[in-house]
Symmetry: C2
Subunit: 294 residues, 2 copies
DNA sequence: GGTAATTGATGCAGTTATGGTATTGATGTG
DNA sequence: CACATCAATACCATAACTGCATCAATTACC
């Protein structure tokens, strides 16, 4: 049975007049008569009583009218819904991101995306940089937001932010009041960083800053999470170099001081080019041009 | 778009294999390929990704699958529902009845009908005998349960119960303790009855009882409702003759005493023969053979 | 590495379904 | 009694669908 038949039935049930119903359906009366008759045959139920001068719904017709109307509405909805999903306006987008991204580019990206596609449900997953590419390649997530990685062969990448490192010092540190310092002034300090295996790019940027002033940082503590680093610094356990956006973190006992020189650290979006999730294309289309903040 | 297309889509979405889906749909593979393709064209959306060795749903396809499944279920439901309604197993039946019927035949009829057609919603309306036929003829109700009336030309009638009258006496009345009395013994009493205009048949039966003993009842009070009659008798304001089934009414101060002779009073079901409500036929089919209780 | 098997798409022919025009049949109306 | 209205039917042309045979691409296997 055709959707068209349902539509014909509903219109006829409203007009109770074959001629007028046919006109509203942009067809002539005879085919409508046959359609209704075919519908009745298919259901095995008489839907209309045809009297000499009037057409009225039977009890079964009255019952079917309500259900048929709802069916038509639901059908229209299903069609529109599928189309929206194909355009990426509906659906699900799974995003993995590092803690650094959460403090820098993520909030803005999510806000922009939400504005354009409010009906896409976002599944967010905070992860360590080293796990991010595996999640993307396995299809676990659609988007990854992290530092640019050397070994990201089968992934596309778009840079979003390029920023400097800054120093984090305990509040009572002699350099804490300065407007800016040079990394070289920290040559004798104890460093808190995170392990090179977790985020090689960041680790390398920190090393590069120090090498620029001809010293190797004295790494006393290594921890996985940036937040923890800042917390340890606040407790006076050392100093550290972190991306500038981390300075949004207001933490008593920790002071962020700009560096006179630092190698820039980038943040960007990764995705699998053959990923067909339409919401992914939507997401990529709202990425703003890269902000260079160094 | 055809319901068949939706069914094809759902089966294919489950099997993800054109050949097997076609087999399950009792058709060959080429038409299925074309049906899906036609569905995709109609929606303007690609529902499946055809890879070399596999077929997978797109995001839009996944979305459409859920809606399409629900649509099919709702469609099946709508069809079955219309069929049930046509068979009278669903729908609405409006029943008007007198108070006498409420005390005698109505409970049993409703119980039997409920058992056979639990999904028919019953609209009950208590009414005075004189209004019942007008309600039936105007189509206000489908079924009327009342006394047989002389002027019920265009209505069909089926008798359900034939019972005797009995006397209602105040508890302190000298005859109240008797196992049975004759109406003649009430010749000198004050009668409480209801007006002949409200229920001519009942009024006549009472008159007939009295005439059988050569007296005219001394009617002191007239009231519309049987219940009120019994209440007035209980307060000692007179005696009355009422259908035996009223004796189910347990009321302190009123005693029901069988009569040695009484003209039988009948109760029955009225309906309009041209009423096409399928539930009406169901109702008529469950009317038990007439019980003669005199 | 070449052949067979698998799988979905396509070409073609026959059948079915659908829509339009003209007409009929039944029933009210002036 | 002629006429108007309204749904059903007859008939024809076209569109849609089905099945069969086949193709093209990929994969499995010896």
């Amino acid at each position: 049975m055709n959707i068209k038949h349902l539509r014909s039935f509903v219109v006829l049930a409203e007009t109770l007049h074959f001629g007028q119903a046919a006109k509203r359906l942009h067809m002539t009366q005879p085919p409508l008569s046959r359609q209704i008759s075919a519908l009745e045959d298919a259901l095995g139920v008489t839907l209309f009583e045809r009297h000499s001068r009037s057409v009225v719904l039977t009890a079964a017709g009255e019952n079917f009218r309500h259900n048929a109307r709802r069916l038509l509405e639901d059908y229209e909805f299903a069609v529109r819904s599928a189309q929206s999903t194909a355009r990426g306006e509906m659906g699900e987008l799974r995003i993995a991101f590092t803690m650094c991204a959460a403090w820098s580019v993520l909030p803005d990206l999510l806000a922009r995306f939400r504005e354009h596609c409010p009906d896409v449900s976002l599944k967010l997953k905070e992860t360590l940089p080293k796990d991010l590419h595996a999640d993307l390649l396995s299809g676990e997530v659609d988007v990854g937001i992290s530092f640019p990685a050397a070994a990201a062969d089968r992934l596309s990448y778009q840079e979003v932010l390029r920023e400097s490192l800054c120093a984090v010092l305990p509040a009572q540190h002699p350099l804490a009041a300065r407007a800016a310092i040079s990394a070289g002034e920290l040559a004798e300090e104890a460093f808190v960083t995170f392990p090179g295996s977790t985020a090689p790019e960041l680790h390398e940027a920190v090393s590069d800053c120090c090498l620029h002033y001809q010293f190797e940082p004295d790494i006393r503590l290594e921890t996985n999470l940036q937040q923890t680093i800042v917390n340890l610094v606040a407790k006076g356990l050392g100093v550290s170099l972190v991306p500038e956006s981390m300075s949004r973190m207001q933490l008593e006992g920790a002071v962020f001081v700009p560096l006179e020189y630092s190698r820039p650290v980038a943040q960007g979006v990764y995705w699998q080019p053959q990923n067909m999730n339409p919401s992914l294309q939507r997401f990529l289309s709202i990425i703003p041009p890269c902000v260079t903040d160094c």
